[in-house]
Structure formats: C-alpha cells, structure tokens
C-alpha cells in the first residue's frame, strides 16, 4: 500500500490584510492519522486547501516524501480529498463517480471496473453502483465520497469535516468506519474537524489551531493532560482554571499559591519551564475536582446547580471569592449518593497530581 509523509514548512496564506494562515510548519509521518482541530476561522481548512493544491500559498513549502509539490497543480499531487459536502458529480452514477479518478489515470477499463467494485465493497455499498448521488442518503453519499477517494490509492488523504452533515449516531458509526479503512489501507490521513471528541477518538496526533496558527501539536493525551495554553485547556474537554503564582520549581513539580491565598499547594507542570514568581493558571478537570471535608478543602463555595447528564453528575459551584469564575465538579452518577441542596456551602479539593500548571495566556 502506498503511503507518504508530508512536511509543511513556513506555509503562509493571506487574503488582503487578513492572515488566514500565519507561517506554519508541520510534519506528518507515513501512515499517521493527524487531525486539524480548531474553531471556525482558525485556519484549518485553509491549511488543508493549500496541501491539496486548491489554493496557492504566499510563502512556504509543501513536501510529499521530500519532493517539493508547492507549485504542483492539484491533479499532479496524488493527494485525495474528501470534501465537506462530498462534491459528488450529480450527472454521473455512483459507479462513474468512483471510476472517474481511474479514468483520469488511464487505468484499463476491466481493471477500473474491478477496483470500483472493490472500493464499493470496502465502504459496504456494493448495491448502489448504478444509482445517482441524489438518490442516496447523506450517510451513503459520504461513503461514496470516501470510496471515490480511496479507489486510486492516493498517498495522502485529506478529509474536510467529512461527517459534519451527519447526525450523531451516523457520525459515530462513520468514525469507526474511517478508522477501519485507515487501519486496512495504512494511508496517511489528515482530517479536519471542529468537534473535539471526534478528534480525540480518531487521531494519532491532534494539531489544534487558533487564529491562523498552530496552538499545540501532540497526541490526544498530550493535549488533554498537558495543555500548553489556556486556549487548549479550554477547547479540549472542560476545565476549571484557577489563577495562581509559582513559588518554587523542583524535579517533581511546582509549589504554587492560589490567588488571594497564603497556604501553598502542589501542582505538576505541563512540560514548559516555569520560574518562581511567575503567574500561572492551574487546570483541574471537573472529574478531578471533588467535594471534600472542610479541613481538606482548598477552596470553598456555594452550590449553584446540580445536573445529572446520564452517567455523570455535575455540580456548579460559585466560589466565595467573588472574582473567581464558576467551577464545575463531576462524578459518576450514583443512585445512593447523598442529595445536595442548592445554596449549600461546599469545600472543594483535588489531588495535586491532577492539578496542571499552565503559563498564563497573557504571558505569550
């Protein structure tokens, strides 16, 4: 199976004064599943279009297996694209749509027919070959778009929010399908989404983008447990962010003091280097924030709301210090749990191994 690595160096795209993509560098390994994640307007689709050759960069280089393709037209790149709205050709049957890239590559008819049938088999829709795209459901159209892309075995496949138009259940199903196809074909896949859960479940690595630049690049675990910025902590999963100051740094972690408090506490770093006296944000995930005995608690607040969302129960707590943001604590729902009362005073605590220090956003 063909599969290529991709290297992007200092790639930049401007539209007039608007910087759609600030100089960006990125390495994608052979066979890797990399997700470009970010809010709309963060530059992820721009980056994808540049890689596909559908837009032209103002600066920078794109290398596929160390060959410079920056100035190659899209049709010479051997990069497959699955478009957001599928872009199936409405005047061609499903079969003709899938055979199109093979025809463009002058594959012999018999061979093309066999490979088309195989691709339909791979996406589990062999019976729709003679139909037109408009006769298919959204999920089926999605699979055909995928089949049309994998049929010519491009070295790299780009997917632009391919599941955006599907409902939740179908989306979950297609996520598994795409993962399976990735395992089977071992193609390099670059996947664009704004759905952080989708990114977490599918990717080898996630490239989180914000305002036209890479915010953090790493494994889902890296981004979740060791966010490099407040933006990352906020975008991936829920988090409680508390202002604090670094007291002292040692091999195991940091001594810190929460804002407006005197009692020191411990935190782990996120990989960045800290200096004593530096202001930081302390991230504690809701599931790591627990209601503690008054003696153990690090913070106190009043219970604002309790919500049961299936498996998890969430407590919303207003800290007694007025300038602190509302906190969320989550724990597995239990029928036997003691009832909480709105307005009740609660103490909150956390395990210092679950408290991650992040450089304060104003720092950089």
């Amino acid at each position: 199976m063909t599969s290529s690595s991709l290297r992007v160096k200092g790639l930049t795209k401007r539209y007039g004064d608007f910087v759609a993509l600030a100089p960006t560098s990125l390495d994608v390994a052979k066979g890797e599943f990399l997700t470009l994640l970010g809010p709309s307007g963060s530059g992820k689709t721009t980056l994808l279009s540049l890689i596909a050759g559908l837009a032209h960069p103002d600066e920078g280089q794109i290398l596929v297996d160390d060959a410079d393709v920056t100035h190659s037209p899209a049709y010479d790149r051997d990069i497959g694209v699955v478009f957001q709205n599928y872009a199936l050709f409405p005047h061609m049957t499903v079969e003709d749509n899938i055979a199109f890239p093979l025809k463009m590559r002058k594959v012999a008819d018999a061979d093309a027919r066999r490979r088309t049938a195989e691709a339909l088999e791979t996406v589990r829709l062999p019976h729709v070959a003679k139909r037109y795209p408009r006769e298919l459901s959204g999920g089926q159209q999605q699979r055909i778009a995928l089949a049309r892309c994998i049929v010519y075995r491009p070295a790299i496949i780009l997917m632009d929010e391919p599941l955006g138009a599907l409902d939740k259940k179908l989306r979950d199903q297609m996520q598994l399908e795409i993962k399976r196809i990735h395992r089977e074909l071992r193609t390099t896949i670059i996947y664009v989404t704004h759905d952080q859960e989708e990114a977490m479940t599918m990717s080898d690595r996630i490239c989180l983008m914000n305002a036209g630049a890479i915010e953090q690049l790493g494994t889902p675990e890296d981004l979740y447990f060791r966010p490099q910025s407040v933006f990352v902590a906020d975008f991936l999963g829920e988090s409680n962010l508390l202002s604090a100051t670094v007291r002292q740094v040692d091999a195991q972690g940091l001594d810190i003091v929460l804002a407006d408090q005197t009692a020191p506490s411990r935190a782990v770093g996120n990989g960045a280097s800290f200096t004593a006296g530096e202001p930081i944000k302390l991230m504690v995930r809701p599931q790591n924030l627990h209601v503690a005995d008054a003696a153990d608690g690090k913070l106190t607040g009043r219970l604002v709301d309790v919500m049961i969302s299936g498996s998890m129960t969430r407590l919303y707590i207003a800290p007694e210090k007025a300038d602190m943001p509302q906190l969320v604590a989550a724990y597995p729902t239990r029928a036997s749990a003691a009832p909480y009362e709105i307005g009740q005073r609660v103490s909150l605590g956390w395990n210092s191994a679950d408290a991650v220090a992040i450089r304060d956003g104003r720092g950089h």
């Binding site: 899209a74 497959g80 409405p90």
Partner: protein, 602 residues
C-alpha cells in the same frame, strides 16, 4: 339501531365539513389565480384564436385560400427559410460567445461580478431600437467603422456595411446576447464550485475537468439559452427591418405588411399559423431531448436525469467530451508556460480579454452615439462641434414629450397591474397544493412562447372590435399580458427563497394572516417585489410590437414614436432620444441594483 346510526351521521358531517373546506379553498384559489387566467384568456387565447380562425374563415365561410396563396409561390417559404437561417446563426453565435461571458461572471469575486453584470444588464435593458439604430450609425458610410478602416488604409473608399446578412447578424447578436448570457448564468450559478476542484484532486487536468464535469452540468443552461434566443429571434422584426436589405426580410415583417398595408387578416393569420407551427416544433423537439422543465433555468442541473438520453447517445457524448478534454489539455500544455504559482481559482487572461472585448462590442455602439448627439456634423464620425440643439428639439416637440409621458403612464400602469394579478398567482403556485401546477405554469408562461407579433396582431383585431385601439388602458392590458409571466417567474423565485417558518413564527406570536403579510412577508419580499415591478415596467417601456398596431399619432408610445421616426429618416434627433433613453435605463438599473444590495445586506 341508534348506536349504528351515530357513526354514519358523524361521517356525514365530516364529509360536509371537508366538502365546505374544499369549497372555500376553491374560492381562494379562484380569487388568487382567477384574474390572471381571465386576462390571459381574454387577451391572449381569444385574440390569437381569432387570428388563427381568420386564416380559415372569411365572410363566405370555411376557406383555405390564404394557405393556397402562402404556398402558391416560393416567396413566403423562402422568407421562412431566411428567418430560420438568421435565427439559427444568431442562436449559435449568441450561445457560443455568451458562454464564456456567463462563465466568467459566475466565477469571479463579488465586486468584479457586479461590474460585469452591470454592463450585461445595461445592454439587456437598452431598447432594441436604440441598439439597432446605433448600429446604423456605426456601420454607415460615414460611420466609425468605415472611418477607421479608411484611416488605417485598409480600404480606399467607404464600404457598404449595412443592409446585408452581416449587419443583420451583428444587430441580432447584439440584441440577444445579453438574454443568452443571463439565461446561462442562472444555471451556472447553481453549479457547485467544489465539483471542478474535486475533479482536480482526483487527477483531472483543467481541460478534462471542464469538459467532463462543468460543461455537462451547464448544458441545461446552454439549451435554455438556445431556445430562448431562437424563439425570440424568429419573431424579431426591428433588426432586420432597420439593418437588413430585401434579402433579409423576416417572417414577422410579412405579417406587419399584411396588416398595415393590405389589411389582409386572413393571410396574416395564415402566416401566423406557419410561424406558430415552427415555434411549436422547436419546443416539442426541445422537450423530447431535454424536458421543458429545464427551461425556466431555475431547475438545478441535478434535476436533469441523463437517463432521458438513450444509452448509446450518452456514450458517444461521453467520448466526445473526453476527446475535447484531452485536446484542451494538449493545447494548454503546448501554450507558453504561464506563471507556475498562479492562483488555481483565477480566470485566465485570455478569457478575461475575450469577455471584455464582447462587452465592449455590445456596449460601444450606444456609447459612441452619445458624442454624436451633441455634435453639429450630423451623424458622421468623428463628432464635430458642440450643440444642445437636438435635445432642445426633442424637448420642445410635443410628439416626443407626449410619447414619453404616455410610455411612463403605460409602463407604471403595466407594472402595477402585472404585480396586482401576478403576485397572488405566484403565491398560489409556490404555496398551495393546487392540482395541475405544471400545466398552470405552462399556461402562464405561454405569452413568452407565442411569438409577440402573433399576440400583437390578434390583440389589434380584438381591440378594434372593442374600441380599445389607441387607448392607454388597452395598451396597459396588452403589455400586462406579455409582462406578467416575468412577474410570476421572479416572484416565484423570490417566494421559494422565503422561509415560511417566519410566517408561522409571526402567527404563533398572535399575528392574523393579513397582519403577517403586512408586517412580515411583504417587508422581507419588498426588494424582490420591486424588482418584479421594474421588470414589468421596463418590458412595457421598451415594448414596440403591440404598440405598433395599438397606437398612433399623439397616442404613440416612445418606442412607437422612435420607430416611426427611424423608419422615415436617420437623424441626430434620434441620437439625442437614444442617449436620453440609455441614461434613463442606466439610472434605473443602478437604483434597482442599489436597492437589491441594500436588501441583501439586511
């Protein structure tokens, strides 16, 4: 017994209830669609029917004499063949040159699109008469072209460029190219821009992506433009009458002669039948090949099932397109290599140059006439001196000012009447579940399909018997017949884009149906309604065919007055009138576009 009876009574009541609901619904339908149907029956079906009847019926009963006359000599058949030839060549040239223009407009950015569209629309709305007249001036012995060729030394004495097939063709293409562009554009704008890009990622070179993907999807637009141009061309008389010689006489000119000079209604009817049959054959062939539903252009390319074409035809078509794609790509490869880093989304320079050349060609004649209208040297190029004399002549001439006021009155009347009866009909066709929608729509659009000349002659005959000839009211009725299909079409498009949930929201907030219309529906549809009104107004303001028979003397409308003058003599006064008309229309489009943009920005 009593128990068994109860459900029977209930179901009886139910039936009465549904029946009375059905009855009230029928009344609503009749109230909304009735006026339009009545108008078309009285002033389209009846007059055209009368005219056709006259061809087989005279004072002594049934007769085929007019048809015997028609086929007795080859004269009339020759005219028919010339008409077909001119129409066919015009259609070909319009579609082939209009395609790149429509394509460029559909792919460029917003700002440049507005500029390009302005020039197409300006030409579209500039009177056929003004444009034809401008070509007379341009191609004349002392016109720009001859002067230019002389000064370049290409010719030694002025060539006669007028009154031949070439001048007619130029005039016809100028007249109908904007229509072709706008029709194709409506389809091209609905083609997903991602499809050619997807083809590129799948390995298709630009030529292949165009011929295999874009072109087949744009084909319904090409077909619609082709039939619109052909049907309009076949009923044309202004251009061949002004720019053609004896050998370029077209069939509608024969009808005019029969009515105006010999008052031979029977023979005029027979020629009309001939013309109508040709048009119907064209439509039938079109329907067999592509389906009439594609004609409105509103139908997205998706709805065209290629299955209508037989398998082998499709395979041949596919092979031809593949070949075209390969040839194009070879040519592109052979061309001197362009900048490698050019934006893949940007249109080629060659295309842009071609489009601007075409736009200049269709706009230039009218623009070149403006300096002539201020000159003292007649209509000879280059303009000499400066005078306002011709404008003063126009302003002080009661004939021209009367004609202008008359046209204004008739135009406003037509706009108002067409809106009044066309809008409810559009509502009915979009919002209700009235049976036979397609048939109703075809009926409402029939005034576009039936050659204008046939409608005009039939109407003249009926108006004469009703004493409506020469009256503004009669003219408003006549113009409404030809303007109302456009109103219905634009209003239907506007209504389709309207989110009916807004109405439901208003009603859930306590607004009664009328209040909903007043406070929600109409304010949102305002811009669309205004542009429909303008469309109807402009149609009437430029209408000559009906006015040709139904008015005269001090009753003349502006186009009729223009026609009378220009067929008598070509004078600078007409250049002045043309300039005024051109500026008037330019302002109108500018205002309409402003309003549309403001509405869109909301």
């Amino acid at each position: 017994m009593a128990l068994a009876k109860a459900p029977a009574i209930e179901s009886g009541q139910l039936r009465t209830a549904t029946r009375s609901r059905a009855r009230s619904q029928a009344w609503t339908w009749a109230a909304m669609g009735g006026p339009l149907v009545l108008l078309l029956v009285l002033f389209l079906v009846y007059p055209v029917g009368q005219l056709l009847l006259l061809s087989i019926h005279n004072d002594s009963g049934f007769t085929l004499a007019p048809y015997r006359q028609l086929f007795a000599s080859s004269v009339y058949i020759d005219v028919l063949l010339i008409t077909l030839k001119i129409s066919l060549v015009t259609t070909l040239v319009c579609v082939v040159t209009g395609y790149p223009i429509a394509y460029l407009i559909s792919v460029v950015g917003k700002e440049r699109k507005a500029t390009l569209l302005f020039w197409v629309l300006l030409s579209f709305w500039t009177s056929f008469l003004v444009r034809a007249f401008a070509w007379i001036v341009l191609l004349g012995r002392n016109g720009v072209i001859n002067k230019l060729l002389l000064s370049l030394g290409i010719i030694s004495s002025p060539a006669s460029l007028l009154y031949n097939f070439g001048s007619v063709l130029v005039g016809m293409v100028n007249a109908l190219l904007p229509l072709a562009v706008l029709t194709m554009l409506s389809v091209m704008e609905n083609i997903d821009r991602n499809l050619p890009r997807a083809a590129a990622t799948l390995g298709a070179r630009p030529g292949m992506a165009f011929w295999k993907i874009y072109f087949p999807l744009s084909l319904p637009g090409v077909a619609a433009a082709g039939i619109m141009v052909f049907v309009t061309a076949i009923g044309f008389f202004i251009v061949p009458a002004l720019l053609g010689g004896r050998r370029e006489t077209m069939i509608t000119q024969l009808i005019i002669d029969q009515v105006q000079q010999t008052l031979n209604w029977g023979f005029a009817g027979a020629i009309s039948v001939l013309l109508l049959i040709v048009v119907l054959i064209v439509f039938a062939a079109y329907d067999r090949l592509l389906g009439l539903s594609t004609m409105t252009g509103a139908a997205a390319p998706r709805s065209v099932a290629p299955s209508r074409l037989a398998g082998p035809v499709q395979r041949i078509g596919d092979a031809v397109l593949t070949l075209l794609g390969m040839i194009s790509d070879r040519i592109i490869l052979a061309l001197p290599s362009r900048r490698r880093d050019r934006n893949p989304d940007q249109a080629g320079l060659g295309l842009q140059a071609f489009v601007w050349t075409m736009l200049i060609i269709i706009s230039a004649p009218t623009l070149l006439m403006i300096p002539l209208s201020f000159g003292t040297g007649g209509l000879n190029w280059p303009p000499q001196g400066f005078t306002l004399h011709w404008y003063e002549t126009v302003l002080h001439s009661p004939v021209w000012t009367q004609a202008f006021l008359r046209s204004l009155l008739v135009g406003l009347g037509t706009g108002a009447l067409a809106m009044l009866i066309g809008t409810p009909a559009a509502f009915l066709l979009v919002r209700s579940n009235i049976p036979g929608k397609a048939a109703w729509l075809a009926f409402i659009l029939s005034p576009i399909v039936v050659p204008r000349m046939i409608i005009a002659v039939g109407m003249f005959y009926v108006f004469a018997s009703m004493g409506l000839v020469g009256s503004a009211f009669g003219l408003i009725l006549g113009h409404t017949v030809v303007a109302v299909p456009y109103v219905v079409m634009t209003m239907m498009a506007v209504l389709r884009n309207y989110d009916t949930r807004l109405d439901h929201a208003a009603q859930s907030l306590g607004a009664r149906p009328f209040a909903t219309l007043r406070h929600i529906t109409f304010p949102i549809l305002g811009a669309g309604m205004f542009s429909s009104f303008l469309f109807a107004f402009a149609t009437s303001f430029d209408e000559l065919t009906i006015a040709l028979f139904a008015t005269g003397g001090l009753n003349a409308t502006l186009p009729k007055q223009f026609w009378d003058e220009v067929t008598l003599q070509v004078s600078p006064v007409i250049a002045a009138v043309s300039t005024c008309l051109f500026i008037f229309m330019g302002l109108l489009i500018f205002v309409a576009e402003r309003l549309r943009r403001r509405a869109a920005a909301r």
